[in-house]
Amino acid sequence: MQTLCFQGLTKAYGGVPALSDVTLTLSAGRVHALMGENGAGKSTLIKLIAGVVAADRMTVTRDGKTLPLRTAAEATKAGFRFIHQELNIVPQLSVAENVLLGHPAPRRFGMFIDWRRMQDKAAAALASLGAEHIDVRQQAGALATGDKMLTRIASALVAEAGAAEPCLYVFDEPTAALTASESTKLFDVIARLKAQGAAVLYVSHRMNEVLQICDDVTVLRDGRHVLTTEIAKTTRVEIIAAMTGKPVSDAIPARTTPVGQGVACRVTALDTRDLSGLNLSLAEGEILGVAGLDESSQTAFLRLILGQGRIQKGGLEVLNGPAPTSPEQAWARGIAYVPRERRSQGLMLGMGVRPNALFPHLVDYGLLADKRAEVARTRGLADQVRLRFQGTEQPVGQLSGGNQQKVLFARAIAKNPKLLLLEEPTRGVDVGARAEIHGLIRALSTQGSAVILASSDLVELLGLSDRILILQGGRQMAVLDRQAMTPADLLARIYASEAA
C-alpha cells in the first residue's frame, strides 16, 4: 500500500453536523497527526473510518481502488487497527488471552485450547513491539498501565487468518493514561510500525508529542478541515491558531505573587502501606508538582491527604490540624480533589451538570433543597470555568472530554479550597481549555490556595509548580526547585530515580 485516501467524510447527528466534507490522505510509513479542540470532530472521524458509525458520505480508496467500509468487520478486513485511550483489556484473563481476544483460540483436537500455541502467538506479537518483558501467562489486570497499552496494541497486531496485513494504525490519545517513560516506549513502537510500512493516524492534544513523532498534521475545527501540512513546515503557533481559530498561547501563566507564609500541609517521616519516607512541607499558595513513573504512588499520596489510607508511622498535618479521616471530612475542611480518571472516579455521567458540580457542597435550605439557588450557583461556576454546555440539567456524559474536566474543576473550586489536590487536571483536554484550567490553578494559588499537582505532563509541571516532588515506588526520591529546570532535566531526574 502507498496511500489511503478518505474523501468527503460527512456526518450529522440529529441534524447537527459533526463532520462536514473532510478529506484525509495517509501515506505508508508516515505518522499523521489529527488535531483539534474537544468537539472538533476527531472522535466522529475515527468512528467513521472504524465502521462503528455509518457515514452520511464517505469514499475510501487505497492506491486508487475503492474500499468498502460500512461495518467494523470491513474495517478490520481492510487492515485497519484501532487503539483507544480506554484500555479495553479484560483484567481477569491472562495477557495471552487478551492479546488473542476476538480471535479464534488455537485448539487441540478441535476442542481444547492449545495454551502453548496461544502463548507463543501472543509472545510473538509482543516481541514485535519490543515488549518481551511482559509474561504472557500473568493476569492482565496486574500489569502496569503502560504494559496494558502494549498488550492492547499487540492484540491489534494479531491478524486474523485471511485478513489483510494491518495497513493503518489509529491511536486515539494513547498517551493520556501513560507516564512519561511509558510514552517513550510507545513512541518506539510507533516508529517500529512506521518502519514496517504501515500508515499511522495519531490523535493527541499533546503538542510536544505531535511535534516529536509525527510527519504530517491535519487540523479540524467545528467539524471542518482547516489545515494539512508537513510537521517540518509548520510551527506550534500555527497549529494552535488553526485549532482555535484565533491565536492562543499555550504558555502557562507564571507566578506573579510570592508564596504565602503559613503552612498548608506538613509531612514528617511518613510511612503508609504504599508510601514511605515522605518529608516535606507545603506553604499556603504554593504549588507542589508530583512526578514519577508510577502513578499509583502519586494517587496514594493525594488520597492520603484526602483522608483515604492509614498512616503507619510519622506525621501528617493538614491545614493546621490532623489529617482528615475521610473524604467527607476533607471536603468539609476546604480540601478539594480532582481525580485522575474523570469517567470512573470523577463524574456521575448520567446525571446533570448541576448535581455533578455541587455534590460535595449540597446544602439543605431549611428542610428541602433549593433548586433555584443551586441552578444559580452552577451557572456562576460554569461561567468561571467557561463551560460550554446546553443547560444545568444536561447529563455530563453528553459533554466533550474537556468540558467534563471543567465540571470536575468547577466542583473543586466551588468553595475556594484552601488545599487543592489535582491529578492530571488537563488530561485529554484541548489547548484552549487547557490554558483556561492553567489560568484557574494559577489564580487559586495567587489567592493563597495551596496546590498539589500530580501530572505526567512535564511542561505543565514545570510551568506551574514551585517545587517538584519525585516519587518512585512510593518513596520520596527528591524535592526539586523548579527554577531553571528544563523538561529534559526533569525527565533525566525521573529516569535516574527509576534506575536507582
Partner: protein, 325 residues
C-alpha cells in the same frame, strides 16, 4: 420534534401508555364491574401493602442496591406485633416493636453491604433466610389470630374516610390507601427534594466518584437500607391488620413484586434510574392486572405467567429502546 427525541419520549412514556392500555382493556371487557369507583378503591387497598414495600425498595435501588429480605422482614414484623398482642401488650407497643425490628433488620443489611462489603444480593439473601427463620421461631410456626389480635389493630384495615361529600354515596377511602399515599409522599420528598436523596442518586450514578467527592457512602447506604427495612415492617403490619392475623410466611410474595414494580418504573427513567413516582406506575400495573384478571376468572397460574411475561417484555422493550436511542 425529531425522530430520536420522539422515540425517547415513547420509551419513557411507553410503560405509562401500557398502564392506560390495561385500564382501557379491562374497562372494555368488564364494563359492569371494573370501571367503578368502588373497584378502584378496592384496588387501591389491595395494592397498598405492595406499594409501601415498593416505594421504600426504591430508596435502595436508587443506589443500584436492592433488598431481597423485605418479604421476610414484613412477616417478621407482623409476627412480632402479634406475639406482643397475644402477650397482652397494648397496640402501640406491638406496632413500635415491629417497626423497630424492621429498622434494625434493614440497618443490619446496610451494615453487611456498606461496612463489611458483601454484595447486596448475597447479604440480603442471607438475611432473608435469617428473618424468616426468626419469624418461625418466635411464632412456633403457627398463625396468630382471633382474639389475640386487638380489634383496634385489625380495624385499621377496615376503616375508611367516607366519600359522600364528593358524590360517592357509601364509598370510603380506605385508611390503608391513605397510608400508602403518605409513604409515597414522604419517599418522594426524601428522594427528590432533600440532599439525602440526591446523594443516594449520586451513589447510584458512580459510587467511587461519590466517595471521592466527599459523600459518606457507607453511612448513607446503611441509612437507606434501614428505611427500606422500616417500609417492609409497615407493609407487614398493614398485611397483618388486613387479615387480622399473622403467620410467618405472609410477606413472602412481597419481595418479588416490589422489585418488579421498581424495575417497571425504571423503564421510565431518562437514564433508567428508579423514581418513586415511576414505581407507583409499576405498582398500579401489577395491581390492576391482578384485579382485572381475577375478575375475568383467569386461572391464577395463568395469571402468574401473564404478569411475569408483561414485566419481562416491558423491561425488554425499554432495554431495546435504550440501546438504539
Amino acid at each position: 420534534m425529531n425522530f430520536r427525541s420522539f422515540s425517547t419520549a415513547l420509551r419513557q412514556w411507553g410503560t405509562f401508555l401500557g398502564l392506560l392500555a390495561i385500564v382501557v382493556f379491562f374497562a372494555w371487557r368488564l364494563p359492569e364491574t371494573f370501571p367503578t369507583a368502588q373497584n378502584f378503591l378496592n384496588i387501591s387497598q389491595q395494592i397498598s401493602m405492595l406499594a409501601v414495600a415498593a416505594f421504600t425498595m426504591t430508596i435502595v435501588m436508587v443506589m443500584n442496591d436492592f433488598d431481597l429480605s423485605v418479604g421476610s422482614t414484613a412477616s417478621l414484623a407482623g409476627i412480632v406485633a402479634a406475639v406482643l398482642f397475644a402477650a397482652g401488650q397494648p397496640v402501640w407497643v406491638g406496632v413500635t416493636a415491629a417497626l423497630a425490628v424492621g429498622v434494625l433488620g434493614g440497618v443490619f443489611n446496610g451494615f453487611l453491604v456498606a461496612y463489611i462489603g458483601i454484595l447486596p444480593f448475597i447479604a440480603t439473601l442471607g438475611t432473608l433466610t435469617m428473618f424468616s427463620g426468626a419469624a418461625f421461631m418466635i411464632s412456633d410456626g403457627k398463625t396468630i389470630f382471633g382474639r389475640d389480635i386487638p380489634t383496634e389493630f385489625a380495624g385499621f384495615a377496615r376503616f375508611g374516610i367516607p366519600l359522600d361529600a364528593i358524590g360517592l354515596e357509601g364509598a370510603k377511602l380506605p385508611l390503608m390507601t391513605l397510608a400508602a399515599v403518605v409513604v409515597l409522599l414522604m419517599v418522594w420528598l426524601l428522594l427528590e427534594q432533600t440532599t439525602f436523596g440526591r446523594r443516594l442518586y449520586a451513589i447510584g450514578g458512580n459510587r467511587v466518584a461519590a466517595e471521592l467527592a466527599g459523600i459518606n457512602t457507607r453511612r448513607l447506604r446503611l441509612m437507606a437500607f434501614g428505611l427500606t427495612g422500616l417500609g417492609a415492617a409497615v407493609a407487614g403490619l398493614m398485611y397483618a391488620s388486613r387479615v387480622a392475623s399473622a403467620n410467618p410466611t405472609q410477606g413472602a410474595g412481597l419481595m418479588l413484586d416490589a422489585i418488579a414494580a421498581v424495575f417497571l418504573g425504571m423503564t421510565m427513567g431518562r437514564e433508567g434510574e428508579p423514581r418513586v413516582l415511576a414505581t407507583l406506575v409499576g405498582v398500579l400495573i401489577l395491581g390492576i392486572l391482578d384485579n382485572g384478571l381475577t375478575q375475568m376468572n383467569v386461572d391464577s397460574y395463568v395469571r402468574e405467567i401473564l404478569i411475569g411475561a408483561i414485566v419481562v417484555s416491558a423491561v425488554a422493550i425499554s432495554a431495546f429502546g435504550q440501546r438504539r436511542g
